[in-house]
Subunit: 314 residues, 2 copies
Amino acid sequence: MSVLVVGSIALDTIETPFGSVHDALGGSATYIATAASYFVNPIRIVGVVGGDFPLRGLEFLEQRKIDLDGLEVIENGKTFRWTGKYHYDLNIRDTLRTELNVFEKFDPKIPERYRKSTCVCLGNIDPVLQKRVLDQIDNPRLVICDTMNYWIEGKNRELRETLKHINVLIVNDSEARLLSSEPNLIKAARVIRSMGPSIVIIKKGEHGALLLTEEMVFSAPAYPMENIFDPTGAGDSFAGGFAGWLVRTGDVSEENLKRAVIYGSTLASFCVEKFSVEGLSDLTYLQIQDRFREFREFSRFDEEVNTRTIPHTV
Amino acid sequence: MSVLVVGSIALDTIETPFGSVHDALGGSATYIATAASYFVNPIRIVGVVGGDFPLRGLEFLEQRKIDLDGLEVIENGKTFRWTGKYHYDLNIRDTLRTELNVFEKFDPKIPERYRKSTCVCLGNIDPVLQKRVLDQIDNPRLVICDTMNYWIEGKNRELRETLKHINVLIVNDSEARLLSSEPNLIKAARVIRSMGPSIVIIKKGEHGALLLTEEMVFSAPAYPMENIFDPTGAGDSFAGGFAGWLVRTGDVSEENLKRAVIYGSTLASFCVEKFSVEGLSDLTYLQIQDRFREFREFSRFDEEVNTRTIPHTV
């Protein structure tokens, strides 16, 4: 199995109550590919940067064994930049500035040797571009897609068309409600599944995630984080960890989809512990496995077998 | 072990997108006692109603084997009434009218034979009254307490005093944040624990609940409800199921606290399926046990043991 990631590659300037960074490596493709690279490699990336993209950015991606042949560098252009500020309550963020730069005219061209990729991860970009990517791939076996309110509202028809070709849609709770016009998340997922994706994942930030298929609802807990430094990239790290685990194991059974959600949550939890991609820069197998087990530990409960305690007064 | 419940007994008029009820049985003590009655009985209740309190209300409570000797009836007064409206998104509710009536001067008098109750459940009432209840009990072994933003803001000093005598505080996420001045829920629970309660439960509505002790964080899933008819009383049913299970088993080990949270969630999930207390009127042992197991089923995941799938590329 081979993984192709298409999305933004950005330089982020981020302010949080705990510090700030300037022109740090960011973007959906960056986080997805980095998180997935802990499970399979090389990961193929298609994106665009300007001539100002720093060498350290390229070195970071290469160190994670990410295949950069699909990275377009527009020498006389500037890299996409995002400036945001998180408040003391890290659930609230303000976008202070978005400079699309070379990303404005991004038209993903999939290199010939990427066209047989078996898994395609579509970061949160224009659904028209997402569809154009898929048109260039020969029979992908697994297509994972992210989107956002901006496209749900602004390009609904185009998004609906793209969704017909998606296997797994990963959205957050407000996006699921907006896309489905249904406040109940279980019903919302059913509506979204009727649009195409057979698997819907609803991320709920500090509240964990829901995985919904035709047969199953799985409620994944969130890691009880006390020290979130920078929430940027958490959702993309989730998608990358999820995709990476599925591709690594080649197993899309329900039990393994659940594990993939926990591995996605695991990578997201590491991501938010440091600024930018720092939290994903240097993980070990043991750290990932230990955190996976922690997720089990704090969500596990057993039924008591001692019959003394069975309620007999009912 | 014997359980004393003190709180409001009300007649609720509720409108939801799915229908409406007028003067239906409600109030925190009603829901707590009813839910707890599935695990232990009799449950002792202390509250106040007016001469207009309907016979069917008394019959309902008696049928659940709730001991009504502590129920004060003020013949020439009117019962506390609450009128509320839920929107299509059931997370949003408007209080249309609150008529305190006899509840305005409620001053809980604990009957002599209730004073050795081992477990006291304090519904969401003025923290001054909560403290006055505790002053009348000889060495309760387990004190469980609910509160709300109104008291956190309006009677903060009095609430802090009451909290010193509480073992388990059950609040929702916004209340936890307000009480602790801390947006991170894990940190918020630690702040609240420093105020007195050694166990903090944070209810998160459709996102489940957190149970936090000195040693443990437990993340309980929410039941994936598709058809919520009336969310009124969900939090009180949770408290009642939680208390009932703990008292029934006489076991406050961490493993059993987790089970109690799931039994609380189970009773809450039944509560919201029908209007008023209807959802709690006629449950069977098998229904409760089956739903407990469903909670396990949709939150359970396993680690794969097949070493083929252990990520070796990290």
